[in-house]
Amino acid sequence: MMSEILLSLDNLNKSFGALRATQDVSLDLRAGEIHALIGPNGAGKSTLIGQIAGNLRPDTGSIQLVGQELTSMSVAQRARLGLGRSFQVSSLAEPLSVMRNVMVAVQALQGHSFRFWKPVNHDRSLLEPAYEALERMQLTHRAWTPVSELSHGERRQVEVACALALKPRALLLDEPMAGLGPEGSAHLTELLETLKLEVPILLIEHDMEAVFRLADRISVLVAGAVIAHGDSATIRQDPRVREAYLGD
Amino acid sequence: MSVTLLIEQLINGLQLGTMLFLMASGLTLVFGVMGLINLAHGSFYMVGAYATAVVSAASGSFLLGLAAGVIAAAATGALVELIVIRRLYHRPHLDQVLATFALILIFSEGTRWLFGSSPLWLNPPEWLNGFATLPGGARYPIYRLVIIGVGIAVAIALYVVISRTRLGMRIRAGESDREMIGALGVNIAKLYTLVFAMGAALAGLAGAMVGALQSVQVGMGEPVLILAFVVIVIGGIGSIKGALFGAILVGVVDTLGRVYLPALFNNFMPASEATAIGAALAAMLIYILMAVILAFKPKGLFAAHD
């Protein structure tokens, strides 16, 4: 059965001078799945994420979210349309509480931010959705703690909570397991497995164990191009993937 | 508008441009290598001029004074780097702006305390007092031509130092990768002091040479400093090539604007109004130029880092 396609990349190309960082990349993300994107260092993963998130503009090709053309939109516009994103390196505002970090995303969802009068700290229409997102990540006990006092794993969870607060149609998670340790990694894996049923996840991950366990489909990026595509079993056995990862 | 006037004004613009380049190259080098914004650069200009004026007056030799001015500026620069500036490299730009603003207050008021508020007089040497005949027949002061020559010589010397010597290699490495030159065993602290002193020496040289054209007084470095900022913003902060191009552009546009804009307005409005509007517009011209360039290239024409 084919489920609904929420995010699709169509023939993306991006070059920096002579370097072709992205070559004819096409892939999609369907409802209810985790689609993992893997590849050795320098394969062009960051460049591809940049194009999806809106930091970079592709030279040719298109990106669509639920049928909407994203290609010429800014980062903020894409986020408002429902593209949630977490970063490889934590991008939270350290001095602020967890709640305030999440609330900004809720704020964006409710229209423009040129509201100068009502204090946010007593605004239930902001607090409640933010609290809900924290509940989903089992973080409510840390709601008013400054991010700077959180552990590495908790920060990862806050990042995902921020993305969830946008009520996203698709999630783009950039190495969420990095630096987590076995316990934190297992915890997050569990969370992602239930999360994907609501929001499909495009997962960029280095931790192969996690990828093979979590992903419904895997695409392998090497030298800017997708060289293999399929489920875990297929990818494990693909000779080109083995060559790219194990060969010289 | 005669061709003679145009040539004369072009050379005036070139002279202003070469002086701006001496100021801007130090500023841009310090920013490119150390990531530091230094408002006190104009103080080195002033120190150079004062030292030159004092030593010239005492010894009767302009050249001796000039050497003293350059050395005094370099020494002041090195000292300031050792005491204050090196604490600022890892600080936010706001702190750098304020600390170097504090240095301006200290240098300006300190100089006023030592030398008083009235300007010192510094004359170009006798043997440079003559005039040269320009193509078209105008007579032009030799000293100003010499200033242009010195400016061009410094530009060439800087190019050679940066592209051909070990010091230049380290400076270029420092721009692109601070950790790497640390790992290569280069003493970064010493390199920074040296680069800073070098920038100060160039500012001192500019101050000394211009001091002989205008007067040597407290605050003389400030208008030049702000023009130099415009230059490096236009050229792209951190780029020596950008500083050279920007300096000549600003020098020529500013000089020609002041001469030709009032005349231009004279064509379609009464003379008194034309002079007023033309002069006001000419004073704003380089800032308008900067705004236009930045509207298209927010990082300047020769952005060093993208």
Binding site: F87, S113, P119, V120, A143 | V97, A102, I226, K299
Partner: protein, 347 residues
């Protein structure tokens, strides 16, 4: 849902940091504001008009710094050109008064507008014009960041400075006197205490607006733009218009202070537009404590006191200002308010 309100949580949340009138920070703030209000009133009763005018000066400089603090402290936009708005506000007061005095038209085309000596009209004009100037300057400058932003705001302010300097109609570099202080219906603005109270009301209003603004959604977005603009964009809010709006509001506050300052001195000149003044405003914000509501007030009190006391002792007082500033920047980053009232938090 019990954990929603930050004040009901057991965690070390934001509520504990908020000023209460009876804690140290609250006391320092009340003392500052009450001192600024009561000391001039007392001195006025004793007949020292000079000190009342000095207090007006402190108040208006503080108000200009409140504007700058919104840009630098709350918005993270290091503007080195706020003298442009202070001076423009001043020139609005000066030029309007000049034409009212002469009974000539301010402009004749496309419609004829006479000058006005009504402060309300002047304030409105100053706020609108400073907002428009900041909109134009900010729109270009905010495309850049870091050192570029600092230098570009400086350069634009210099542009305004040189324009005022070389435009002869309103005094050029000699400046423009205001022969009769502009008036407010029903009040005697020539009375030093009345003028001080008007200025004081302006300062309190500017601080109240800043405070309210920073607690609102706009303030939350601006805080995030300063701390982490990637986060803000990823959350779906474009940082650029948020910053631009804050920059414009900041300029309006500084411009209004400038309009009053020109009336206080009965004179406006390009020195109000000079880059030295932009630098001094930054110094005041930093001395007081950057990004703190009462920082500009503390900074202005300290600055004008130093100017008056040290300036009375030595002609070279700015040398000592420079040394103090250097020490504060290098070693005491939280300013006077940080020292008196403890550290500030962003929520």
């Amino acid at each position: 849902m019990t954990n929603l309100d930050s004040s009901s949580t057991a965690e070390p949340g934001v509520a504990q940091h908020r000023a209460r009138w009876h804690d140290r920070k609250g006391l320092v703030q009340i003392a500052l504001l009450a001192g600024l209000l009561l000391v001039p009133i007392g001195l006025h009763l004793l007949g020292h008009v000079y000190y009342v005018n000095l207090a007006s000066k402190v108040t208006l400089i503080a108000m200009a710094a409140v504007g700058l603090n919104l840009a630098i402290g709350y918005g993270g936009m290091v503007s080195f050109g706020h003298a442009a708005y202070f001076g423009l506000g001043g020139y609005v007061a000066g030029i309007s008064a000049y034409h009212a005095f002469d009974a000539t038209a301010l402009i004749t085309w496309p419609v004829s507008i006479p000058g006005s000596d009504n402060m309300l009209v002047i304030w409105l004009a100053a706020i609108v014009l400073c907002g428009l100037l900041a909109l134009a300057i900010g729109a270009i400058s905010l495309r850049t960041t870091g050192v570029y932003f600092i230098m570009i705001t400086l350069a634009f302010a210099q542009m305004v400075y040189y324009f005022a300097n070389s435009w002869p109609s309103y005094g050029g570099e000699d400046g423009l006197p205001i022969y009769l202080r502009n008036g407010l219906p029903g009040l005697d603005t020539n009375d030093a205490l009345t003028f001080f109270l008007i200025s004081f009301a302006g300062l309190v209003l500017a601080m109240a607006i800043t405070s309210r603004l920073m607690k609102s959604r706009f303030g939350a977005a601006l805080t995030m733009a300063r701390l982490n603009d990637t986060r803000l964009a990823t959350a779906g809010i474009n940082p650029y218009p948020i910053r631009l709006a804050a920059f414009v509001i900041s300029a309006m506050i500084t411009g209004l202070a400038g309009a009053l300052y020109a009336d206080l001195n009965g004179f406006v000149s390009p020195s109000m537009l000079s880059w030295h003044f932009s630098g001094e405003l930054m110094v005041i914000v930093i001395l007081g404590g950057v990004g703190r509501l009462y920082g500009p007030l503390a900074g202005a009190v300290l600055f004008v006191m130093m100017e008056t006391l040290l300036g009375g002792l030595t002609e070279y007082w700015q040398l000592f200002l420079g040394l103090l500033l250097l020490v504060v920047v290098l070693f005491a980053k939280h300013g006077v308010m940080g020292w008196l009232a403890g550290r500030e938090h962003d929520e």
